[in-house]
Amino acid sequence: MNIARPSFLKALLAALALLAVGLPAQAAPPKARVSVGATLPLTGSEARIGGFVKEGYELAFEEVNKAGGLQVGNQKLPVALTLLDDATNQATAVSLADKLINSDKVDFLLGTYSSHLIEAQSTVAEQYKVPYLQGGGGATKIFKRGFKYLFGTISPVELLGTTLMTWIDQQQKAGKLPKPAKIALLWENTAHGKDFRKGVSDFVAQNKGAYIISVDESFALDGKDFSALLGKVKAAKVDLFLADAHLPDYITMHRQYVASGLCHKVVSYGARGSEKGAIDALGVENVKYILSGVWWSSQLAAKPGPSRDFVTAFKARYGGRDPEWFQALAYLSAKTLFAAIQQAGTVDREAVRQKLATMKVKSLLPGGPLEFPAALGQQAQNPFVVQQNTPDGKSPIIFPQDVATGTGVAANPKCPN
């Protein structure tokens, strides 16, 4: 009894001490899976592309789950994707991201598609400190806000304008295009379009005497009638027609371009032109020689590497169909997030964010490895590839030379002298 009393007192004191410092934290229940959320424009004006991005995400998730899941520390966890439709609407994209984070309790977010939706939605991820990886919004303005949790696998649209002009400049220097060449520069009135305009305008300013921008006009997104704009282009008698448009506007505008009887030595709609859907909608004859600059092309699969692996997997999953850059960048975004989680060895958001900010991973993008330079707002800076539609309905890569699968044609042979 005498012996027991001090033990009892000790135990009591120990219990009180524990109460004073707080009970030892209960161990968190073991994580059953890694949960990732995303919204996509599955209805509304960007529904078509939203569907493409969905394909890329789903393929990446299927692959990793088939392989047994992600190696997170010393356990293998499956990954689950919660995908919602933001109806191509900013407010909906924001409030569904809020739902994914605060109600569905996802660990990480993947981006929606289109710069204007991503610009709005990424504020929610930043607010709640959730890593947000996206390959659908290339406007530089998105990345100039000092956000820490936003990462872009998509290079700046400004670089797209510069890349197209670099190829055009080579043709001009080879004597295939007039000097000075008159340009019609049409850009959608969005951050995306403004970036494209800046890329082209800066190039023109740096090459004084070689180019004159004769028409510099913006147009509203989702336009239905471009006839007035095309009338101005016709009156200006330009040599180069350079527009920046999203897919629905490209199809509408080019249909009216063809109907107006326009023809230019170089015709480009920025990143659009080589999409199979657009070729089907407009007819092979009408899209011949259109130049486009894209973030990725399935022709990069000609050489062994990540692009070939992706194209093989995509074709096997989607009935032999060739992927476009939308699916590729979506797939890449998901895969990069998985790599960051595995390298961090945890699903802790801050640890994964830090890993993303410093990592350099092998990627399917032209130019090779992918990284997110902090000085450029954590936006990838990989080069574009330039493609040109050919009369047989194909779109070989014509620039840069090291990945080219065909030779570009300038001036447009369709136009009468």
Partner: protein
């Protein structure tokens, strides 16, 4: 004075209204609402306030506006600019945004000569013209790139109570307008503007007053919206979809009634969010069906439905 207030608002209604407001105010403090629910309720309050203010024009005055997004956008961008330019409290910026939106709404004065569908068509034109004007006014709105505001999590959280306060104010104002002499004069203008003028009702003045007040409140909600989202863009703020949204909320709930737009906005925001999150393929179809049902069978919307139910219940009680 007390009897006058009692005349405007019978005690049970006043008590019910105040109790509901108080219950909603303490709800996040007593219940552990998830952040998502908290935020969704904030959005609902903003929509309710906007719909109630729209109803002053479209319901009480009978001038159905398809251009209220213009005042929403003006209020939002003015408030956003003030927040970005000067370190003023956000509520002051919302207030100034609302005042500017109210004055801006008076720009629709010439259209008030038109009645019925002609007025509605004119407001579509005014709304779209405003959208284009502000989209191309890059120095002020950032153009199509929009404006990013500082992300203030605490302010977003507090917006719940600011939004609720606005709803309480606007609901009370709706009730008072409906029950006051002003409401009767608005009804007279709605029924026949010429006959009302013959009876000495200053139709022009009251129409201007209502369009300015309605525009100002919608402008304040625009300012709060900007603070909530931390990013605004002209095509979204001034979009035609937004104007249609105000009309739909009122139609679903019951145009011209006091509580109709409130009920309509609650259904509009919550049902839409639920359908979008759970049944994305169905949400447009469900909306379409809801509208067709209401227009065909119950022109007074949910309010009419509730009234019918109430009458049935009363009749049953009488039989018992």
């Amino acid at each position: 004075m007390r009897s006058r207030i009692r005349g405007l608002a019978p005690t049970p209604i006043l008590a019910g209204f105040l109790l509901t407001g108080a219950a909603l105010a303490v709800l996040p403090l007593v219940l552990e609402l998830s952040i998502y629910t908290h935020n969704l309720m904030t959005l609902t309050f903003l929509s309710v306030a906007g719909a109630l203010a729209w109803n002053w024009m479209g319901g009480f005055l009978g001038q159905v506006s398809f251009g209220h997004a213009a005042t929403f956008g003006v209020g939002g961008f003015v408030a956003a600019r003030i927040v970005l330019w000067a370190p003023v409290p956000a509520p002051l910026a919302w207030l100034v945004g609302g005042l500017v939106a109210g004055v801006f709404a008076l720009g629709a004065h010439p259209a008030l000569r038109l009645r019925g569908p002609y007025f509605s068509i004119a407001t579509i034109g005014l709304g779209e013209a405003t959208r284009l004007l502000f989209t191309y006014w890059e120095d002020f709105t950032g153009g199509s790139s929009g404006l990013s505001l500082p992300i203030e999590t605490a302010l977003k959280h507090r917006l719940y109570w600011w939004g609720l306060g606005l709803v309480v104010l606007v609901t009370a104002a709706s009730w008072l307008i409906r029950r006051s002499g002003l409401g009767l004069q608005l009804l007279a203008i709605k029924a026949d503007v010429d006959a009302a003028a013959d009876l000495g009702v200053s139709a022009t003045f009251y129409q201007d007053l209502m369009i300015a007040l309605s525009g100002a409140v919608v402008g304040v909600t625009g300012g709060m919206w900007a603070s909530y989202f931390s990013f605004i863009e002209p095509n979204d703020m001034f979009g035609f979809d937004r104007s249609i949204g105000f009309v739909l909320m009122a139609v679903i709930g019951g145009v011209g009634t006091v509580l109709g737009p409130l009920l309509g906005a609650v259904v509009f925001v919550l049902l839409r969010q639920y359908l979008l999150a759970s049944y994305p393929q169905l949400y447009l179809g469900v909306y379409g069906l809801l509208l067709i049902f209401i227009i065909l069978f119950e022109p007074l919307g949910l309010t009419g439905l509730l009234r019918r139910l109430w009458q049935r219940l009363s009749a049953l009680r009488g039989k018992v």
